[in-house]
């Protein structure tokens, strides 16, 4: 990845680093609204007092799909499951890994597992069943 790309992605890459180390976090304002970085202002109430709070160890899949027609960045990864999982203060979109695609279901308990795209080698937010 070029330097320019790394600069552009500041804040997001830091979060991926933290999640890789098992220290994923959300941002929380004094009113208890959770959000994901990079962010200076709470999108719910406009508060600028955001602090990092640890995410719970596990989340729950709320909805999912198996994608057969990917963008070029995931050409070699398809088919793969994408899900939205609830991690308490925030929901997160990620790829479900470590499970047969047919067994992915709503309600499945997962933990974050930063994985890589088979196509590009870039880091990807993943969910693995607990």
């Amino acid at each position: 990845m070029s330097d320019a790309a790394e600069i552009q992605d500041a804040g997001f890459d830091d979060w991926i680093d933290a999640a890789t180390a098992g220290e994923a976090y959300a941002l929380e304002c004094p009113n208890g609204h959770g959000s994901l970085p990079p962010r200076r202002v709470c999108p719910d109430c406009g508060s600028t007092e955001l602090e990092e709070v640890p995410l719970p160890d596990t989340g729950e899949i709320e909805t999912f799909t198996v994608t057969h027609v990917p963008t070029p960045a995931f050409a070699d990864d398809a088919p793969y499951a994408t899900a939205i999982a609830d991690f308490g203060p925030v929901r997160i979109t990620g790829q479900v890994v470590g499970i047969d695609l047919e067994r992915v279901e709503t309600g499945l308990e997962v933990e974050l597992e930063i994985t890589v795209s088979e196509t590009t080698g870039d880091r990807v937010i993943g969910f693995s069943p607990v």
Binding site: D9, L36, T65, T67, H68, T71, I92
Partner: protein, 389 residues
């Protein structure tokens, strides 16, 4: 408040024409719109033009002045970008400018060139309407995002893929008579169910095609229409816009579209009508599930009942509230930047009695056009009414 009249409309055929540039497409649409309107190009006060992926598809930004030139209009021109709601947003601003007395005549529309990118390239280009960091990099595509909503809808309100298939069948049926439509062919429920999967539960026939095309509308003030004795029986009487969080996962609801609800409520109030007065609607059915979410958000059907409306014949051409008589994005095509304006053009033509499918809505006096951007992080809704016939 003065009505904003639809003086003329022009659409290119929507379809697969990779060799045509957007300036060629928009020129054609604008020529038709001016001919239809009887308005002189020299009277145009502004061009408001919707386009989404011009930089990626044609290496062309700053398309406003380029398209004014293509249309032969000497007027300030601005491009509107709001993903798939780009030209809906342009029409909304045009309406407000005419109402405010700033302008008397506005050329508004949009164009998109997409098929030259190929399926993978267009999928990638469309994906930039989502949050690049938190959605695209997780592998989410646009069909994928709507599939997430479809699964969430099934889990919350029930329904299955076969219900969605009836929406695709209906919209193909409606497009049979529309010579501008990309697909003028009938399909069966079994075709939809057996089509290759794109993103479960959505398959190829649940998805709108990748399209090239343009739409142009000449809007005028009521005073200008009267003064020039224009034949312009349809007015835009209500406009509304709603917004929501960019990423689907940040929304309160995964199976509803609050931005469309907000836009619809604003447009209804603006026009002084309610959902029960709506005789027909063109809604943003980029995927079959999107039509369900749209008709529920617009209060045309209660939440949880939109899923069965097509299957039960309530939204078919001969149903109580025909939805997407043009064929919709699904069968007419979805050249992103042109879509919102094209929906308004279709509603105006249907209400004026000039559409091949006008016979299904002969007594119609009010129609709705709903245009959504992204996973409905943006939405515009317009009410059109017959004011002079």
């Amino acid at each position: 408040m003065s009505d904003v009249r639809v003086a003329g409309v022009g659409l290119t055929p929507f379809g697969n024409t990779p060799e045509r540039t957007s300036r060629d497409l928009f020129a054609e649409a604008s020529i038709t719109a001016f001919e239809d309107s009887g308005v002189s190009r020299t009277d145009v006060d502004a061009l408001l033009y919707g386009n989404f992926m011009g930089e990626l598809a044609e290496h062309q930004g700053h398309q406003g002045p380029l398209m004014a030139e293509a249309a032969g209009v000497q007027a300030p021109a601005t491009r509107y970008e709001s993903a798939c709601a780009s030209s809906g947003a342009a029409v909304r601003d045009a309406v407000m400018r005419i109402r405010n007395g700033e302008d008397d005549v506005i050329l508004v529309g949009g164009a998109e060139r997409m098929t030259n990118l190929g399926t993978a390239g267009a999928t990638e280009a469309l994906a930039i309407a989502a949050d690049d960091l938190w959605e695209v990099r997780a592998g989410m595509t646009f069909p994928g995002a709507y599939a997430l909503m479809a699964q969430a809808y099934f889990a919350e309100y029930g329904g299955e893929h076969e219900d969605l298939a009836h929406i695709a069948v209906k919209n193909h049926e409606n497009a049979m008579t529309n010579d501008k439509a990309q697909y003028q062919s009938a399909i069966e429920v079994s075709d939809v169910l057996e089509a290759p999967q794109v993103s479960t539960p959505l398959g190829l026939y649940d998805s709108c095609p990748i399209s090239d095309g343009a739409a142009a509308i000449v809007l005028t003030s009521e005073a200008y229409a009267d003064e020039h004795d224009l034949e312009a029986p349809v007015a835009i009487t209500g406009t509304g816009q709603g917004g929501d969080r960019m990423a689907l996962h940040d929304r309160e609801y995964l199976a509803r579209s609050p931005a469309a609800r907000e836009a619809g409520a604003e447009a209804y109030a603006d026009a002084g009508i309610d959902a029960a007065d709506v005789d027909l609607a063109e809604v943003h059915d980029c995927f079959t599930i999107a039509e369900v979410l749209a008709i529920e958000s617009l209060d045309l059907f209660p939440v949880g009942e939109g899923i069965s409306a097509a299957r039960d014949g309530r939204t078919t051409a001969d149903g109580e509230t025909p939805i997407n008589l043009s064929g919709g994005l699904k069968a007419k095509g979805h050249p992103v930047g042109a879509t919102g304006a094209s929906q308004i053009a279709e509603v105006a033509t249907l209400l004026a009695g000039d559409h091949p499918n006008s016979s299904f809505v002969e007594d119609a006096t009010a129609g709705l056009a709903h245009n959504a951007g992204g996973t409905v992080a943006s939405a515009t809704v317009h009410v059109l009414e017959v004011v002079d016939r």
